[in-house]
């Protein structure tokens, strides 16, 4: 008996935080979620699995993607032709709103409905598999759903399909559960979804987040994929297989001898040539420099103008390395702010007064009305970045101050 456990396909959802993506990469990126999902379904067909479990967030209902729906119809039909059942529990992004239910997926697809639903399959081998789970009726499920899962049945295999997060005790919107509760059910396998980083919560029986099949932002780095689970000596053993079409990467490199942008460009090119990837990789690069850059040059880095220019002029190298740089930061030794004509204490007082969240918020003002900007603004890293950049900027200005007098 073998099956595939995948989750969080997030079909047709956009990649976030891309500003300078070249067109050559764009189409690959746009297709990436589909490419990744196709690998899952292809694997199901080639390995002739007994069934496929999809633990929610196949698509984002809010995004109303036609492509995602059409894709699912097509893929489910492929599996239908091969007589491979698909069992789905919808999650917080594809919650089971009652719209469009009149057009059903092919017959091989089972959507687990209300809590406490169990679908029992009889495999060709004669084994029986009971899959219990539920679909989110709306965006949030705040109650612990585990109690609604039935106790282990007489089926040969009992599997829990659950889209949710471990309970944290507060603000739990996504079917909060406790590991101990899951283990107490004595199921053979818990197929989890929702958390995009794959992780094994328990070795045996496996309680497992499959992670998403394709990372969609720089926060979702590394190889993504799904699990092929097979029975071995009365136990279910998951084995990971990669699916991601595009990789995200956060890298820090040290360029000791770089002192200016020209040298940085050369060093970067050299680095690219030395680090060719097998799969298209979107890299957010942090460059550590031994000696600080000139403030003006640093400002060019900070504004992103330099990277933008570099990407335009070095596309050949990027293509060859199968990589694109989505962000470039320079990390250098902090410079002390000294303004000879004004006491240090005044600068510090001024900084404390300005870099204060209420003031920042007031200054940001109307821009907070823009959802995406507000989202960025609210991130805790934002205020740190703002302060750092302001210090860099001021340092640059202090350099100018020296020239001013006689």
């Amino acid at each position: 008996m073998k099956f595939i456990h995948a989750a969080d396909l997030h079909l047709d959802s956009p990649f976030l935080g891309l500003t300078n993506l070249p067109n050559t990469v764009l189409s690959t990126v746009r297709q990436a979620t589909f490419t990744a999902a196709t690998k899952v379904f292809d694997r199901a067909l080639t390995d002739q699995v007994d069934f496929v479990l999809l633990a929610g967030d196949l698509f984002d209902r809010a995004e109303q993607s036609v492509a995602a729906q059409a894709y699912l119809f097509h893929q489910f039909e492929r599996l239908n032709q091969a007589k491979i059942p698909v069992i789905i529990s919808f999650g917080n992004h594809d919650f089971a709103a009652d719209q469009h239910q009149s057009v059903a997926y092919p017959d091989n697809v089972t959507i687990l409905g209300a809590m406490g639903t169990t679908k029992t399959l009889t495999l060709q081998s004669g084994e029986t598999v009971a899959v219990s789970g539920f679909s989110y009726p709306e965006r949030w499920v705040t109650q612990d759903p585990v109690a609604t899962f039935p106790d282990r049945s007489a089926a040969d295999w009992q599997i829990g399909l659950l889209h949710g997060a471990l309970a944290t005790g507060s603000d739990d919107h996504y079917a909060p559960f406790k590991l101990s509760e899951l283990l107490a059910k004595r199921y053979d396998y818990w197929a989890l979804g929702h958390i995009h980083h794959r992780q094994l919560l328990n070795e045996q029986p496996p309680v497992l987040y499959a992670g998403n099949t394709q990372g969609r932002s720089v926060n979702e780095t590394g190889v993504k994929g799904a699990y092929l689970v097979s029975s071995q000596a009365g136990k279910l053993v998951p084995s990971f297989f990669p699916t991601s079409a595009v990789l995200w990467e956060n890298l820090t490199v040290v360029f000791d001898h770089v002192t200016d942008l020209k040298a940085l460009g050369l060093a970067l090119t050299t680095w690219l040539e030395a680090h060719v990837t097998s799969q298209l990789t979107l890299t957010a690069l942090t460059v550590t420099l031994a000696q600080p850059l000139d403030a003006v040059e640093l400002a060019q880095i900070t504004s992103g103008d330099w990277l933008s220019l570099y990407l335009r002029t070095h596309q050949r190298y990027l293509v060859a390395a199968n990589r694109t740089l989505i962000k470039l930061q320079v990390s250098q030794a902090a410079t002390k702010i000294t303004a000879p004509q004004i006491d240090q204490q005044y600068w510090e007082r001024g900084q404390a007064q300005v870099f204060e969240s209420a003031n920042e918020r007031a200054t940001f003002g109307k821009l907070l009305q823009d959802t995406s900007l507000a989202e960025w603004f609210m991130q805790p890293t934002t205020t740190v970045q703002l302060k750092q950049q302001a210090e860099q900027e001021l340092t640059k200005l202090m350099g100018g101050e020296d020239n001013h007098a006689t």
């Binding site: 995004e63 719209q99 007064q353 900007l373 100018g400 001013h404």
Partner: protein
Amino acid sequence: MQLKRLTIYGYGKFHDRTFDLTPGLNVLVGPNEAGKSTITQFITAILFGFPTKKHPELRYEPLDGSQFGGEMVLCQAGVDYLVRRVDGPKGGKVTLTNLTTDSPLPPENLNRLLAPVDEQLFSQVYSINEPRLSEVFAASKQVMVERLRHVGAVGSDYWLQQAAQQEKAAEALYKPLGRNPRLNQQLREHAELSAKLAKANAAYDTYWSLLQERQSLLQRQKQQRVKLDQQRQVSEQLAHLASLWPTFDQWQRLQKTTVQPTSGFGQTDLTELERLTGQVKAATTGNATLQHSLEKAQVQADLPANFQQYVTVATRADPLLAQLPQQRQLVTAHEQLRQTQQGLQQRMAVIEQQVANADGTMPRSFPLSVAHDVTRWQAELVKATQKRRRLQQELNQLNEQFRQVQPTSRKRTNPLADKQVGWLAAGLIILVGAMLLPAAPFKLAGALLGMAIGYYGVFIVDSATPASRQLQGITDDIRDTQAQLREGGQRIDQLTSQLDEIGSTYGLDNLPVEQWDAAQAAIHEWDQLTEQLETVTDQLTTGTDQQMAFQQSVGTLFPDLIHRPTAAVLDELTAIDQTRHQLSTRDDELTSLMNQLKQSQTALQAAERDQQVFLQTRNVRSPQAFYERYEANREFHNQQVQQMALAHQLGTAAITQLQHYQSQTSLQTAVQAAQTELQGAQQALDASTSQLATIAGQLDHLTASGTQSTLRQKLANLEAQMQVNAQSWLVHQLVSQWIKATLAAASGDRLPQILQRASVFYGKLTSNRYTEISLTESDLRVRLATGEWRQVSQLSRGTAEQLDLAVKLAFAVVMNERVQMPLVIDDGLVNFDAQRRQAAIQVLIDLSDQLQILLLTADEPAIRSVSGNIIRLMD
């Protein structure tokens, strides 16, 4: 900074003047128009530039035409600089020289030397005159702070500039109300993209509804296919039936038109008829042969012409022959009747001659009563006539008597003689006229009347002539007689008219009454004759009819005799009859022939009768009709066979189905309808199919367009860019704020010092009437020694000016740590009373060890006690 020397090339009223200045207090004394304000303006102009030519009154160009401008030696941080400014563009041409090193400096360095003091600050704080003192009353903390910030930190101008540049850079990225900055554009683009995406998202609903539509269409298509198949079968079935229709039609017609066959017209019947016909034919042939033989025999036997004819019709002719005697009798009787008729007619003609009226009509006979009346009336008439005659005689006698008695009366009667002639004449006329009347009685009556009249005229009239009593008696008798006569006449007239009436009623007008009896008898006879004549005529007619009928019967048998007279016919027949008799008694060939012929005739008749019976029992008139019926019968059988064959060909099922249709047309209509429905079903299916194709196309389009994904990715990218820009913008903004906050922090510390100093100065200036100055957000206020607070607006002009002076002095003193700038006070104390002016001068003297002060004044006495550099302008 300390001013050491002013050299004026040409400025206002001055030319080629030099003023040496010392540190501390310098007093420049001079009356009005001595040039105090000119010097103040000169200092400002050299340091900060000449006003533009738009304001010539502020330029103080020299009146005598010497070179415009001058120079100034100033000491800054222990270094002497020479600033020379002459007429030139942009505030004048500046030459800057470091006198310590004797090196020229770029003219721009002048501003740096003076920084942070610029013209504005200099004129607001350091250059003090009366109008300026009074204009600062509006001072608020904000203004104060700004001014403080301006000079609060050395180099603050740079930082202010940087802050402004940061703001500018920020504005290049985003302005809350802007359109063109990058982030504004991106926000707009974001809105547009979002709208586009929302529009593209509409495709989502379309997609689902298309899927739904496709699903229902597929369902419908399936149903339509089934229906189409059914309909096709129906249509084909009907078409098959339609092709069978001609056969069916034939079958149906056979069934419908066939009459039930009648028995008696079969093959056996035909044989029987033919046998009978053969018999008839054989008999007829035999007959003909016999007749031929008979004809020959007859010729030999010299038989009457018509006998041969007779032989053929003997059976029918015999009854006629039997009638012969009777016929002869009839002829005789006929002749007798004719004679009787003639006799009657003659008699009637006689009577008619006697009695008939002129127009030939016969009078009619009276009934009995009328006859009695007539007899009676005639008798009365006779009597009346007799009586009249008697009376006439009596009258005549009387008349005679009268004539005798009355001879004289002649004269008188002469006129009467004329009358007599008249009467006579009238009587004659009537007499004659009566003779013209047709009937005798009339004539008689008329003649009598005429005579009577004549008589009357001659005798009675005359007798009427009375002459005496005798005469009178006679006259009366005459009159009496005349009266009786008249009475009798009237009776006669009455009777006559009654008789006339009867006469005219019965057509006896032409006969005199006397002949009426005789006439009546004649009329009666005539009537009887008429009846007899009718009887005879009837008998004659009957006889004639009988003769005619006989003759006709004869005519049919013997065509030769048709137009022959009766007598001749009878003779012929008699001859035939005699011949027959003769022959019946002879036993020869002819007889036998005739017998044979008779027998043959009988046989023929029997045969014919048999045939007739045969035909009658079958209710047909002739063999021809029989044959027709026979043929019909045979045809029927043929048709039955044919029908069975057709029924077999059609099959019972088809027949049952076909029988549902009235006619080929209705079947055709059904076929048509079925085909139409088939076409309809096909069209519906086609429509569904094409709709499905359309939907598939639309779905493909929706699926393949990728618009949504592209837009979403674009939006995500745009948002990333927006975040970068927002970050830059925010950094710029925050940096600007940071600089300003830092400057504010640096300068803000000095404000309390300035206020403290100002309070001290103000106390001194006002002899401690006011002890404290306080700066609020919006205004400046002062505190009396009594503890009360006063707004600036509540102060007197002088006191307010003293407040301003105190603040400015405090500012200059406190800022002196960083900015050394000479104070130039141009007649600023004019509104001060003497005591306060002294106090003010004392404060200035006190400050002169810290500040260089140039006091320009016209108030000589006030400065008497002042020790320091006193320059008299009027010297």
